[in-house]
């Protein structure tokens, strides 16, 4: 199991001015795993995602994805290598239609050139047609095809969250990073989201890393969990181990651990 890792985070750290937001972070993800990343607010979870996706360049350490070093690459190149993400604060293309949001993500898989589009050559029509069909497929999975001509900003919040995931999938990732996908959802919606995540993992053969504060969700679907506190890894293990880890209880969970998983 240890040699089929898809992502290896080796002693990574970053500082903002004097603040060490993350330091000495180690993590390994294996093909097909579903892993959780938890920790108190400001622990450096989102910052870690930002380093994994090229938004920030780590000031130390290495990030190896499928044998290739990805730290230092700009975000769009990282995405093209196969890491895509959602955002903690939703970042849709709000004035564009739901369909176009997904098409944008499918962009790098299409081949027709700018010239062919400007001259309306046959390759343009073929390429656009394929994009449209593929994008609608993604929307169908998330049950968003009914809203495909709606502007993204007009969707209700829950659908916007789902669209973000659909869009991230359309970018063709092997590793999907979800930043608090259930934030602002009520327990019922969260439960639906859980099954959806499990479904897409199977269907697209994905490895998933997710940040979440909803312990029902994290403990419910993650196979392994990493816990960050003050930018440092304080624990790693199965949900059961994490739930009972005194350090995690002190820093993060508090006494009232949800009873049901």
């Amino acid at each position: 199991m240890s040699n089929n890792h898809i992502l290896k985070v080796d002693n990574v750290g970053i500082r903002f001015g004097g603040l060490k937001a993350v330091s000495g972070f180690n993590m390994e993800l294996h093909q097909g795993e579903l892993v959780g990343l938890i920790g108190p607010n400001g622990a450096g979870k989102t910052t870690s995602f930002n380093m994994l996706t090229g938004v920030y360049t780590p000031s130390e350490g290495e990030i190896i994805f499928e044998g290739k070093k990805v730290n230092g690459l700009p975000p769009f190149k990282v995405t093209r290598l196969g890491i895509s993400r959602t955002f903690q604060n939703i970042r849709l293309f709000s004035e564009m239609s739901v369909l176009d949001n997904v098409k944008v993500a499918y962009h790098s898989q299409a081949k027709h050139t700018m010239i062919s589009s400007i001259l309306r050559l046959p390759s343009h029509f073929i390429g656009e047609k394929e994009m449209e069909e593929k994008s609608i497929e993604f929307l169908k999975i998330f049950n968003l095809d009914g809203d495909m001509h709606e502007k993204a900003k007009n969707l209700p919040y829950g659908k916007q969250r789902r669209l973000e995931i659909a869009r991230a999938l359309a970018a063709g990732p092997k590793l999907l990073l979800l930043d608090e996908p259930a934030a602002g959802m009520n327990p019922k919606e969260t439960a639906e989201l859980m099954s959806l995540i499990a479904f897409i993992r199977e269907k697209f053969d994905l490895t998933i890393l997710l940040i979440e504060h909803d312990m029902n969700l994290v403990m419910g679907i993650c196979e392994r969990i990493y816990v960050l506190d003050h930018g440092q890894l304080i624990a790693e293990g199965t949900p059961e181990e994490i739930r009972n880890n005194p350090k995690v209880i002190e820093a993060y969970l508090g006494e009232e651990v949800p009873a049901h998983a």
């Binding site: 603040l19 938890i38 920790g39 108190p40 607010n41 400001g42 903690q88 209700p156 919040y157 829950g158 608090e180 934030a183 602002g184 959802m185 009520n186 327990p187 019922k188 919606e189 969260t190 439960a191 504060h213 312990m215 029902n216 820093a251 993060y252 969970l253 508090g254 006494e255 009232e256 651990v257 049901h260």
Partner: protein
């Protein structure tokens, strides 16, 4: 203390609140639960004067506050902690708290309340010179609540104080909510985290697409199967 009758609120053509009514009595914690987009935030914004209802009445301490400016309502004792915290990021913690007391003139009272806030939230005292934009989510939530307390409210409107917070922090926040209430502030609490909300509240309303569909004491609702299905995670 607060009585809302049949209000309709619109965003352009969107009819967000449809003839909604509810009451809050002095000293209570009342919680509103409901799905995304049900209209909870809209209601709070209407109460604090950020939005104007098209029809209906809102009485606070037996006086109509419909059409009053936000600053007048704040002076009258209603203080609103907005969704998403909304601290003034490039101002220090202390300045944020001072702004909370913006409409007050009693210098001594302000100082006293400031001390009280720091007592309730020692973390804020520790960080009082830090720019609030660099605080962690939980700290920002504390600041937002502290800022509202600085207005010396009789009625505190809280919009999803647990959103995006770590479990430990959620517990802290709810503990503080109960403390504030014990010290005499009435609280109207909007929450997605219905479990938590119902466990601290006296009464609750359920809102769906702009209407109240259910109300009762927190105990009753916690026991209701419908509520369990819809809002407590489906574990009947």
């Amino acid at each position: 203390m607060l009585s809302v009758k049949d209000i309709d609120v619109y965003y352009g053509n969107i009819h967000a609140l449809k003839g909604l009514s509810l009451d809050v009595n002095e000293g209570e914690i009342v919680t509103l639960i409901g799905a995304n987009g049900a209209g909870k935030t809209t209601l709070l914004k209407t109460l604090s004067g950020l939005l104007k209802p098209k029809n209906g009445t809102i009485h606070y301490m037996n006086e109509s506050i419909v059409g009053k400016q936000a600053q007048t309502i704040v002076k009258a004792g209603i203080s609103h902690v907005p969704e998403g915290r909304r601290v003034f990021a490039t101002m220090s913690v202390e300045e944020n708290l001072e702004l909370g007391a913006y409409s007050r003139k009693d210098k001594n009272g302000i100082e006293k309340d400031m001390a009280k806030v720091y007592e309730t939230f020692p973390r804020l005292h520790e960080r009082r010179k830090q720019l609030s934009g660099t605080l962690s989510g939980g700290e920002q939530q504390m600041l937002a609540m502290g800022r509202a307390i600085m207005a010396k409210p009789k009625l505190l409107l809280l919009d999803e104080p647990s959103m995006g917070l770590a479990p430990l922090m959620v517990q802290t926040i709810f503990r503080i909510v109960e403390e504030i209430n014990k010290e005499g502030t009435t609280i109207l609490l909007v929450e997605q985290n219905a479990n938590m909300a119902l466990s601290v509240a006296n009464r609750a309303y359920v809102i769906e697409t702009g209407r109240v569909t259910l109300s009762g004491t927190a105990k009753e609702l916690q026991a209701s199967d419908d509520i369990k299905m819809a809002y407590l995670g489906g574990h009947v």
